[in-house]
């Protein structure tokens, strides 16, 4: 009935309760008396503009599987590696070092969103290939930041997870492409983003059918942090 009215459905099946999330114009259900349908306990209006990223749609903690590991409530995930991939030796050496130190993910920048156009912009595909080699050599999962549709197209061939950086948290076109990629996405919080804006950014990814979103709190810009620059 819900689908026949042009609404989308999101199912969350728990041990005792099944939550049927409905996304769309609620006036389409105004004459439906859905509360009295068999098996319906109650109808809850979700007033926040984010639905799929809303706890009310899936009250239980999320677990995001990534290859042979997972990110979630019972795990401590450490992602480590160089801000920018400079060359193969640097990356390999770092990969073995972070593995030894307990990391389960290698991170490394192949596409660098630099404040200045004259700063090193990253090795791009060459860097992605080094990441793949490091994964094979160490067994670590690998994650790279993506900054454009083209970077996503390239990255999906080489890495396990995509990172959206703080500067791009509201680059909605990029979020949609990340949603279509099929890979889990690490979404960093924008420097001046509210929690609501952040969850809405996650919603952009999830509304493309990709629910594998991990939120990364990286702090906000205040008078205390005005002069600190690491944003990626």
């Amino acid at each position: 009935m819900i689908l026949s009215r042009g609404l989308q459905v999101h199912l969350s099946t728990g041990d005792q309760v099944t939550i049927v999330g409905v996304v769309g114009d609620k006036t389409k259900l105004s004459d439906s008396n859905i509360e009295i349908a068999e098996g319906v306990d109650k109808v809850v209006a979700v007033t926040e503009s984010y639905k799929l990223s809303n706890r009310k749609f899936h009250p239980e903690d999320s677990t995001i599987p990534v290859g042979n590991t997972s990110i979630g409530p019972d795990t401590l995930t450490i992602m480590a590696g160089p801000c920018a991939i400079e060359n193969k030796d640097q990356l390999m050496e770092t990969a073995f070092a972070v593995k030894k130190a307990g990391a389960t993910f290698l991170r490394g920048g192949a596409y660098k969103p630099r404040t200045s156009p004259y700063s090193f912009q990253g090795l791009e595909i060459e860097g992605l290939k080094y990441m793949q080699e490091a994964r094979e050599a160490t067994g670590l999962r690998v994650i790279c930041e993506v900054t454009s549709e083209h970077a996503i197209e390239a990255a999906v061939k080489y890495v396990d997870m995509l990172q959206i950086g703080a500067r791009n948290m509201q680059n909605f076109e990029l979020l949609k492409e990340a949603g279509k990629s099929g890979l889990p996405v690490l979404l960093k919080r924008g420097l001046s983003a509210t929690i609501d804006e952040w969850l809405n950014a996650a919603e952009y990814i999830m509304s493309e059918g990709n629910e594998q979103v991990v939120l990364c709190e990286r702090g906000i810009r205040t008078f205390e942090t005005a002069t600190r620059n690491t944003l990626d």
Copy 2:
């Protein structure tokens, strides 16, 4: 001599002084004794990472011509119009109204960067066409926000000037595409962007050969403005 060493040159010719801006690795000039070349008064190091957007490269105020009007020190430019273009009637009516009120530009959103994926995302090309019609009917210049490479490709056919919104101020891929578009660009300040970051963003556009950049100060996010939402 400068070009032969792989450096880029930017000329600013004034009435009494010509400034030769040099962009690149300054060590390439370390053995050049450029200070004693004929016609060279002095050599000034520009320590900021932005060069083309730096006053030191063009000390005089900039004037940006846009069609039959221009934006600069001797003009007061008013751009007005709807946040989102909803339909042709709304746009036309607004266009005549803002013209009557003294505006020289019609602004209107055809591609809307919305906090929520479920908000109206804009009429896209249809909206651009209405903008073109409004320009023909009123003689106003027209400006639209662009949010992706595809939007830029479409917009260059219909509008006089591109707008980069606050959320995309550090979407560097978009800035580069705007730089290649050939159209003048209005660059809004990011909500938590420092002046340095803003000028570096302008530099991304200018380093693609497009010096027609207008900076739009739209204020920053503070505890005073935390709950205000208009960001475009």
Copy 3:
């Protein structure tokens, strides 16, 4: 009737309307049917915690007389002078200079709220006496910052107006003393104060019977202003 119930009254008499501001516990009027009393047009609840500083109590713009001049809607008041009074010559020279430049008030710091205890803390009473001499010599009104009850006691003998600095905007004991002083008060906005907090600070002064309060907007601290220090 209002007074007999233990409430305070504040009268604002205009040409056509008289506003009777009532401050206190509104439940004391719950059985009063005040709306139907003769001469009562309507009853408006003021939900903000500030009453006397609230526009609803005196909708017209305020004018604060200070000696032979006044601060208000039809005047442009310029207060100028040294951050700290260093000696008599410096103050006199400055006083004549600012008068020539159009100022109507001489400001000068005799009690300095310094970030460091080792910075010069001001000439105190000696500085106040120089201010008085400068007033007599130039005819300017004079204003000094006060930082303690003792400073207020001294300042009332020598100056026309008291200044409460940004750091002391919520030093409520000081505000009350300023309220009792009988002098008009310039209240600077605190670095992280909301408008509500500022108006409540004004209310502290006004609730002591002193309505001669002038608000001075000096900006707030943000990531843009983190390193700027002038606070007094």
Copy 4:
């Protein structure tokens, strides 16, 4: 020699090194060749304006004894109790409850710095007496916020420790009085205070001869916290 030149000395005696902190105008030592005096290893200039609160003056972690307990590196101090003391029963009940829960200090507000002058301003001396009774009944240490010189005069008779609230962090007259009180002082960080300003505020207390200062980080105001109100 140092004292004879009008400088102040602060001694920090460790197991292996004694640090002689000198506060004052360093030019007074310019002809002293103090580096070559016997027993002097090296001379370090402290460029920060705070000296006594500076790690360079006492590199070891501080321990602040308060009655039968102490605050420092090897202890976890929990201070708990009501924001405002409302009456004796409320305070006593709370005191036993927080003791049972592991607190070593009872905190309670007798002088309340309220945003609005019409909010309850505290029981003042009556509240202090209840605090003393609670201390005797439970064996807890007790701490109260002080907001004026008069409050300090009263509080020293009844409590173990004084609290300076966030709003008064740069109420320098109050800091000096707290310095003279002889009691340990808990100094809360101002809502928009930098670390430097906070340490300088501690310096005001310490420069009066009271080194028993505990810093309490209570967070800063940002766009994230704009609407939260608890400041005391």
